[in-house]
């Protein structure tokens, strides 16, 4: 059965999500274990595949119905998307465990079965975007993931959530349209939808890069995916969506959604257009992405400083963090790409833990005001510890995961002669330190006479996933294997050191 893991990893959450309304009708109690089980299997499957790829050094291919690519539809797992798959499935599993109690509180009774079903479909959509070897399938899964995200955001029953979900729907659909137009242009020129097939056509004839429809296709992909990943200045939909969504939705969407689009951009660059397109075909695109991501890296944390709502603060910090991942594509050397790729995991761990804390705050106080954190350290030490570790990782304190991302990005920037990226990274760390310190000061050093709004620790079902994510921030920071994986993935993309 190991040979079938690529398909099972996607299909089990997908079909579990589709069957859930049927099973939930028979017995409502089965819904949560089914979600945890399906995502547990997906986590097992994706980690198994990642280990497999890392030990053999060869990508896993899977063809549907025995039809070989590019005629048929196929999946492909290499180191880069193996890491992203493990990130999505792991975040999905921890979110599904975490959401047991908050979902009871925040999602209306009659909608809860559907909420779990939509959540599983959303996970399957993200996993599908990551694993597919076919650009049209990428679009189909992108639609599955987007439409379910709109629902996950709007489902909280708050009026602002409906508005946030609706504006994301409009903006997200525009983004998806751009991506579809890009696929159409590529198909018109190459007559193929298989990623590897298109890549080999480009490699065989690099004069294709000068054609205006190929360049237009790339521009469409860049704009569409930049909207989806909330890359500055196309991030307008994101803060409200994260702020007003129910806590489980913000936890899952914040830790995976934008990064999956960033991965799709990596895949489009390296797996469809090829490295030569970025170096020779249209080098200007690197400058454009460099400006956008540098602006995101500085301005995201800067805007976050003055937010009074914890979830909105974290949303703006995500705007900055996605810039780090995109910087990897700009730098195009092994160190820079290592920094970008490792940041998929590091940011998922840190942002996941922080949204667990924000969810705990909502669970205890009913709102996510930063001021309500005052004195939380006295009453909820575990949650506060997670907040501290993840906050340090966001700043990039040595021995936490965030430090490694910034270190490799800075090293890559110096190698690529983009010296000004280093002060950008430092400025971002300083701004991040300011808002993290503002939060930590409230949590640990509130005056004694302040009565904490968070009166007690959250239940274990919420504490364990938060602790696991917080521990991941430390593990990725202290042990070298995650960096080694990212480095091999970067080398496999074929960039020169």
């Amino acid at each position: 059965m190991v040979a079938h893991l690529p398909v099972l990893t996607i299909m089990i959450p997908l079909f579990a999500g589709l069957f859930m309304p049927l099973l939930g009708r028979l017995n409502r109690a089965i819904v949560w274990p089914l979600a945890v089980g399906a995502l547990g299997f997906a986590t097992f499957g994706s980690i198994h595949m990642l280990v497999d790829v890392a030990t053999t050094g060869e990508a896993i291919h899977y063809s549907f119905g025995g039809w070989a690519l590019p005629t048929g539809i196929g999946y492909r797992v290499d180191l880069l998307n193996g890491m992203v798959l493990a990130m999505i499935a792991g975040a999905g599993l921890l979110t599904s465990i975490w959401m047991l109690r908050p979902a009871q509180k925040e999602i209306p009774d009659e909608g809860r079965t559907s909420y779990y079903a939509v959540f599983l479909l959303c996970c399957a959509g993200f996993l599908g975007i990551t694993i597919t070897a076919d650009i049209f399938n990428l679009y189909v899964f992108l639609e599955i993931a987007s439409i379910t995200s709109y629902v996950l955001i709007a489902m909280g029953g708050r009026r602002q959530a409906l508005y946030a979900g609706y504006s994301y729907l409009i903006v997200g659909s525009i983004g998806a349209t751009f991506i579809l137009l890009g696929i159409g242009h590529l198909y018109m020129r190459t007559g193929s939808l298989g990623m590897a097939d298109i890549l080999s056509q480009f490699q065989a004839d690099t004069s294709l890069y000068t054609l205006s429809d190929v360049r237009t296709a790339f521009a469409f992909f860049t704009v569409g995916l930049a909207i989806k990943m909330a890359l500055f200045p196309l991030h307008g939909w994101q803060p409200s969506a994260y702020t007003y969504a129910p806590s489980p939705s913000s936890l899952f969407i914040a830790s995976t959604s934008t990064k999956v689009s960033a991965y799709a951009f990596y895949r489009i660059c390296f797996g469809v257009f090829g490295l030569a397109f970025l170096t020779d075909g249209l080098p200007e695109i690197r400058q454009i992405v460099l400006v956008m991501s540098s602006a995101a890296i500085v301005l995201g944390p800067l805007i976050a400083i003055r937010q009074g709502d914890l979830k909105r603060l974290l949303a703006y910090s995500s705007v900055g963090q996605i810039g780090y991942i995109m910087l990897g594509v700009v730098l195009l050397n092994v160190d820079g790409l290592t920094g970008g790729i490792i940041h998929f995991w590091n940011h998922a761990a840190a942002k996941g833990s922080l949204f667990c804390v924000a969810g705990a705050l909502v669970f205890r106080t009913g709102s996510s005001r930063v001021s309500d954190l005052a004195g939380m350290g006295r009453r909820a030490p575990w949650t506060s510890a997670v907040l501290t570790v993840a906050g340090c990782s966001m700043v990039g304190v040595p021995m936490t995961a965030g430090f490694l991302s910034k270190w490799y990005l800075a090293a890559g920037a110096l190698e690529a002669d983009y010296v000004f990226v280093v002060p950008v990274l430092i400025a971002s760390s300083v701004f991040t330190a300011i808002y993290v310190w503002r939060v930590l000061q409230l949590v640990w050093f509130a005056p004694k006479d302040v009565e904490p709004a968070v009166t007690s620790e959250v239940p274990w079902s919420m504490r364990i996933p938060a602790l696991a994510l917080g521990a991941a921030c430390l593990v990725f920071g202290l042990t070298p294997w995650s960096v080694d994986l990212a480095r091999s993935a970067a080398v496999a993309l074929g960039v020169g050191s």
Partner: protein
Amino acid sequence: MRTEKSPVIRYVALRAVPFIQLYALYVLGHGEDGPGGGFQGGVIFASSFVLMALVYGYGTGRKGAPEKITDILAPAGCVLYAGIGLICLLMGGAFLEYGRLAGEGASEAAKHSAHHFGLIGIEAGVMITVTASMITLFFEMARDAHVDHGQDDDDGEDDDA
């Protein structure tokens, strides 16, 4: 607005329904080697219920496809689809490799017919899901209009909103 549809429309619509449904099944069966398939068949099948609702009213249309049944059928179609995919997988093939349904060491002809049955099977799954979803979509949207006008049209009044 309460208006009774003319007897001609009521007569024709009622007798058109079986033909629409038969045609839907034809489109389903045809999908393998021509334009058509589960999605199109499902939409056509669902349109017969929409026609009933338009001519005989919301209540009569919904009676033919109660919410309970459509809610069960929508996931059931997916069960059929996934089930066939998984059986192919358990028989040693790839996901959706229908030829394997004929079993180990089957003749080419047997594999060929197994392929047909597998394909028709998953298309039927798609059709069931699409039919149920289309009916649900239509009646969910029509319900608001129906409730707004406070109509009680079980005896065949029309819902002109």
